[in-house]
């Protein structure tokens, strides 16, 4: 498309043209277009490497304060609406439009021109050509040529050049429209995209007319400067609606906050459902909604599912997510600190905070989530299909008066781990961490009571003393020292070790034991024995406490040989060891719940969508025309010979597909060849078929002349 000219000519031309057109030339140039294509491609990569539109604190944590700021300035958390990226796109659109406006006139002209002024000499220079000399007269040849061209779908013009005649044919000219459609479509699609990009909103944000709200407050308290009235503009926002509630707004995420967009209707959510396959994977998410609007006589009642949105007056409402909508939870609180260790019952509502007193301190209990199903891989899972549902769980945060908080994730029912049942309670101090689960052994009635009673006994001075004394006696008598008067001393040391165990873990206890032996300079030979003894006394103390806890819980007494009881005891010790990491003032057991879910709906308005879709149509059409319609030309030069015969020259050209055209030109020439031969070899008198004859108006006579048909390559 570019015409070639020497550099000095170009410079000369530009000087004459002035800066405006130089700029225009630059913007519409192919080099710029290709560079832009590549630059936009590379720039787009960034947004796929950095996850877009995440909460700002996540970025801060990931990149550190310096890079966080730097990236925020560059707009890398929302690349595709960053100024520089939009500028690049706009540049591409401008460049394409200029290119289009420069080329379209010549393309259209080219589509209409048959090139019937082509001269014989120039035709002879074509690489695709064939010549014949025939004794048929020119009129016959013209008819045959016309027939042949037509059958190959050429339209043509016939023009006299002196006594010669030229049939100038052209086929597949819509190929040239392909270029126009393709490039026009780019512009159209981008325009549609810009409409839906809602520049107005961005503009209001830049100019400060729109304030971003970052606080988590009820809609009614949001300042009007952070609220958008119903308008015809585009937006895409989200809203969570609990079952049984309704909403008339959506929230548009912007930077580190949101703004509120009013809707011209209200959505009431009847019910939200998750259905599952028997493998436990979700099969469908659906919300039963009722849409009411002032202009509606009857509300619209519909179920929204993934892939099945509800559309109302240009607003499309999608099932996007779901969550808890304020489930009501009944809990039993087991205090782990303080003097009064009696559990008590309390109620709460997910997403609400409430105060909770533990051991004389006031904490805040922030109930965060409730999950009815928890599908986990089975323990010996070999395939992804080996899953089980371990039942309901809930998540809460306990915020100390100092403000720091830890988050807990507790299961309602015991979960089987390696053949034993545990109440799992996960804990973490920041959302970035994984939960680490405390395994509280469930007793033979599937309750946490025994362990918790056991734990409490150990913390209670009197009970511990009693247990330690029983243990000291028993241990000493096993060693045959039953009445050595060592009981108080041994009991004291056992209590000391137990307390250490509660504060730290078993490893630390053993190290402490060893250190204290060294400190007291216990001789080498007795050290081992003493250590074993102290440990036995401690373990015996724990065992005694355990027995007591069991009988408190009215469970049958265990013997030392009871497999179950022993296993429970081992688990209990392991849990004790881990209690220091758990570091919670209270253990909340879920006793009862009423699930209330919330559906997460995305509501979008995209007035540019029809424009974009029209662009898609143009693009597809344009590309198909460009690739699969071949624009080709053929000329048939017919020159009468003095002997009454005719010289025929057939030439053809296709700029874009030389190789393919070579073949199709071959077919064209073969056909003309065959027609000429047939006409010459006495098919005389027969009417030649095809419509070409009548178009030309010339009748086709029988063969004339005697010159043999020669095929001149």
């Amino acid at each position: 498309m570019e015409t070639t000219s020497s550099p000095s000519q170009v410079r000369e031309k530009r000087r004459r043209q002035g800066t405006g057109s130089v700029l225009l030339h630059f913007l519409g140039s192919m080099n710029l277009a290709i560079t832009l294509l590549v630059v936009v491609a590379i720039a787009s990569v960034i947004g796929t490497i950095i996850q877009q539109n995440q909460p700002y604190p996540d970025y801060l944590l990931k990149f550190g304060p310096f890079w966080f700021e730097a990236f925020a300035t560059l707009g890398l958390y929302d690349v595709y609406s960053a100024g520089w990226y939009l500028f690049l796109l706009a540049f591409l659109v401008v460049s394409t439009s200029i290119c289009l406006s420069r080329h379209t006139p010549s393309v259209l002209k080219e589509m209409r021109r048959y090139r019937e002024h082509q001269q014989e000499r120039s035709l002879r220079a074509f690489s695709n050509r064939r010549e014949w000399t025939t004794r048929l007269d020119p009129a016959q040849v013209e008819a045959l040529g016309a027939q042949t061209l037509q059958r190959h779908r050429f339209r043509f013009r016939s023009k006299a050049h002196g006594d010669a005649r030229l049939l100038a044919g052209m086929a597949g000219r819509s190929n040239r429209l392909g270029y126009v459609f393709t490039h026009l479509s780019i512009v159209v699609i981008c325009v549609g995209g810009i409409i839906d990009g809602n520049l107005l909103l961005k503009f209001r944000e830049w100019t400060g007319q729109l304030q971003i709200e970052t606080r988590n407050i009820p809609v009614s308290q949001v300042d009007p400067s952070s609220r958008l009235p119903v308008s015809r503009g585009a937006f895409r926002g989200n809203v969570n609606i609990p079952e049984g509630r309704s909403a008339g707004v959506v929230f548009l995420d912007l930077k580190d906050g949101y703004v509120v967009q009013d809707l011209p209707f209200r959505l009431h959510v009847e019910e939200f459902r998750v259905e599952h396959y028997d493998t436990g994977e979700p099969r469908s998410f659906e919300s039963d909604v009722i849409l009411t609007a002032p202009e509606l006589d009857e509300p619209i009642v519909q179920t929204i599912r993934v892939n099945h949105p509800l559309t109302y007056r240009g607003y499309a409402i999608y099932q996007a997510s779901f969550g808890d909508g304020g489930s009501l939870l009944g809990m039993r609180a087991w205090p782990l600190r303080g003097d009064d260790r009696e559990p008590w019952e309390l109620d709460g509502e997910v997403l609400k905070d409430q105060p909770i007193d533990v051991a004389g301190r006031e904490y805040r209990l922030e109930l965060e989530d409730f999950q009815l199903f928890n599908v986990r891989p089975t323990e010996d899972a070999e395939t992804r299909r080996d899953v089980r549902n371990v039942g309901p769980s809930f998540t809460y945060r306990l915020r100390a008066p100092t403000g720091e908080a830890r988050e807990y994730h507790n299961f309602m029912l015991p979960v089987e781990v390696r053949g034993r049942q545990y109440f799992l309670s996960g804990v973490r101090s920041t959302p970035q961490e994984e939960f680490r689960y405390l395994h509280l052994p469930a007793d033979s009635r599937g309750r946490p009571d025994t362990f918790l009673a056991f734990y409490n006994l150990l913390q209670d001075q009197d009970s511990l003393r009693a247990a330690s004394e029983r243990a000291a006696e028993a241990t000493l008598s096993e060693y045959g020292l039953g009445d050595s008067g060592l009981v108080p001393q041994v009991a004291l040391s056992a209590r000391d070790l137990v307390r250490r165990l509660l504060e730290e873990d078993m490893q630390a206890v053993l190290e402490y034991l060893e250190d204290s032996m060294l400190e007291r300079q216990v001789p080498e030979d007795r050290r081992q024995m003493l250590m074993t003894f102290s440990r036995l006394a401690m373990e015996r103390t724990l065992w005694e406490a355990y027995l007591e806890a069991r009988s408190d819980g009215d469970l049958q007494p265990v013997s030392a040989a009871d497999e179950q009881g022993q296993a429970f005891f081992r688990d209990a010790l392991a849990a004790l060891s881990a209690m220091d990491l758990y570091a919670a003032p209270v253990f909340l057991e879920l006793t009862d719940f009423e699930q209330i879910q919330a559906t997460g709906l995305m509501i979008a308005r995209a007035p540019g969508q029809p424009v974009v879709y029209a662009g898609f149509g143009l693009l597809t059409l344009g590309i198909l025309l460009m690739f699969y319609v071949s624009h080709r030309r053929a000329w048939c030069w017919i020159k009468p010979r003095p002997d009454g015969g005719t010289d025929v020259l057939l030439a053809g050209a296709n700029q874009r597909d030389p190789l393919g055209f070579q073949r199709s030109f071959g077919e064209l020439a073969d056909e003309l060849d065959a027609r000429l031969k047939a006409a010459e070899s006495g098919a005389g008198g027969r009417r030649a078929g095809g419509g070409g004859v009548s178009i030309l108006g010339g009748a086709v006579g029988g063969p004339r002349g005697t010159a043999g048909l020669r095929n001149r390559p």
């Binding site: 498309m1 570019e2 192919m30 277009a33 290709i34 294509l37 590549v38 491609a41 787009s44 990569v45 796929t48 877009q52 690349v79 595709y80 059958r151 839906d196 895409r236 396959y277 028997d278 493998t279 994977e281 979700p282 099969r283 469908s284 599912r305 993934v306 892939n307 099945h308 949105p309 499309a316 999608y318 996007a320 395939t383 992804r384 299909r385 995305m602 509501i603 995209a606 969508q609 974009v612 879709y613 898609f616 693009l619 597809t620 590309i623 690739f627 699969y628 874009r656 190789l659 073969d670 056909e671 065959a674 027609r675 047939a678 006409a679 098919a683 027969r686 030649a688 078929g689 095809g690």
Partner: protein, 387 residues
């Protein structure tokens, strides 16, 4: 018409396209029409109106392909015949192990394993034929490629049936996860290659194209044995849409075409180092390969454009917007721009040859990232295809 000299001569045939069709063309189309009508009625309860539309669209596409490219007729008959035979052996899933034919040939796992064996074999044979300059050996290569593509096709069709045998609620078209689309990729690439082999009348490029298919077969085997990816899992709600039935296959025609273009690019670069020797071995000339590269990229670009547009339609229905700058979408755009760059260089700057071959190869790397890398390395709405 019939009295014109043209027909007498018989060197060319000036009847219209439809009139040139043989009785076999019509019988073949009629046979598939019966099958399609039967499926439309018999499976009607499971299909909505869009799916009916897609069924008939699929039929029309098949007939069009078969009439334009004659070998596709026999191929489709064999595939359909064997698939039907397999389905009749399949009252329940357990039959896959009891029944001799299913166990060794036609259950989806066996058929796919056959595909996995035949494609590498075809590649070796093609190369052997090229190096030994043996026309016959290369023909064997073609036959193996036909067989491999057929095995893959049957594997997918039978798998479709198997998914319903597991449970009707799990049943779905097998183009929904990475495992299935790799089979789809190998098979479509094989078929598209065979079409160009036919059109360009050269089998010399079979080995090169075979390399990329073999690579994907390697991945498939790893994915199967290491990750048990061959198991049929139920569909997550986001994928339960008829759009998938057209979006995914369209995409894979594009990927297949791009893959072939890149491998022709490799062949181009190989031949450029010693044109004379390779010409003697029968590798097509530089101009022909350049042309083939253009054809395949054009095919790929057209299908990729349509697939991306279909994806946008689907996204508008599933995610609330036709374009969300999700990583997969963004990488599709990147891929698209890469090939748009290629086309511009060729048609407006007139570039040919080595740089274009390199660009085609890099294009395939970009495509591979879009197809695979995005699922592995980036997270987004398209995250169902995770490894």
């Amino acid at each position: 018409m019939s009295t014109t000299p043209d027909n007498v001569i018989g060197q060319f045939d000036d009847r219209g396209f439809l009139r040139r069709l043989s009785w076999f063309d019509w019988a073949w189309a009629a046979a598939f029409l019966v099958g399609t009508l039967y499926a439309s009625v018999h499976f009607g309860p499971w299909m909505d109106v869009y799916e009916q539309g897609i069924l008939y669209l699929g039929y029309a596409t098949l007939i069009w392909v078969g009439w334009v490219w004659k070998p596709a007729r026999l191929f489709s008959l064999v595939v359909a015949g064997l698939t039907l035979f397999a389905l009749f052996q399949y009252p329940d899933l357990a039959a896959a192990e009891r029944n001799f034919f299913l166990n060794y040939l036609l259950s989806s796992q066996s058929a796919i394993m056959w595909m996995c064996a035949l494609f590498p074999a075809a590649t070796v044979v093609y190369f052997a034929g090229l190096l030994a300059r043996s026309e016959y050996t290369q023909k064997v290569g073609s036959a193996l490629t036909w067989a491999a593509s057929g095995a893959g096709f049957i594997g997918l069709l039978v798998r479709w049936w198997e998914s319903y045998l597991i449970s009707p609620e799990i049943g779905r078209i097998p183009v929904t996860n990475l495992y299935e689309v790799f089979v789809l990729f190998a098979m479509t690439t094989g078929l598209i290659y065979l079409y160009y082999e036919h059109r360009y009348r050269t089998r010399a490029l079979g080995g090169f194209v075979g390399l990329i298919i073999t690579a994907s077969v390697g991945f498939l085997l790893w994915y199967h044995f290491d990750r048990q990816a061959h198991e049929i899992d139920p569909l997550i709600p986001a994928l339960q849409s008829w759009w998938m039935k057209i979006h995914v296959p369209t995409n894979f025609v594009a990927y297949g075409a791009f893959a072939i273009a890149a491998m022709v690019g490799v062949a181009y670069l190989v031949q450029a180092r010693n044109p004379e020797r390779w010409r003697q071995r029968g590798l097509p000339g530089a101009e022909a390969m350049d042309d083939l590269m253009y054809r395949t990229i054009a095919l790929g670009f057209a299908f990729f454009t349509i697939a991306t547009i279909l994806g946008a339609f689907w996204a508008a229905e599933a995610w609330g917007g036709y374009w969300s700058w999700d990583p997969k979408e963004t990488w599709s755009l990147i891929t698209w721009l890469t090939y748009a760059g290629w086309l511009h260089l060729r048609f407006t700057k007139g570039w040919r040859g080595t740089p274009m071959a390199w660009w085609a190869i890099i294009g395939l790397l970009v495509t591979t990232f879009t197809f695979l890398g995005v699922n592995i390395f980036l997270s987004g709405l398209h995250s169902y295809g995770e490894l």
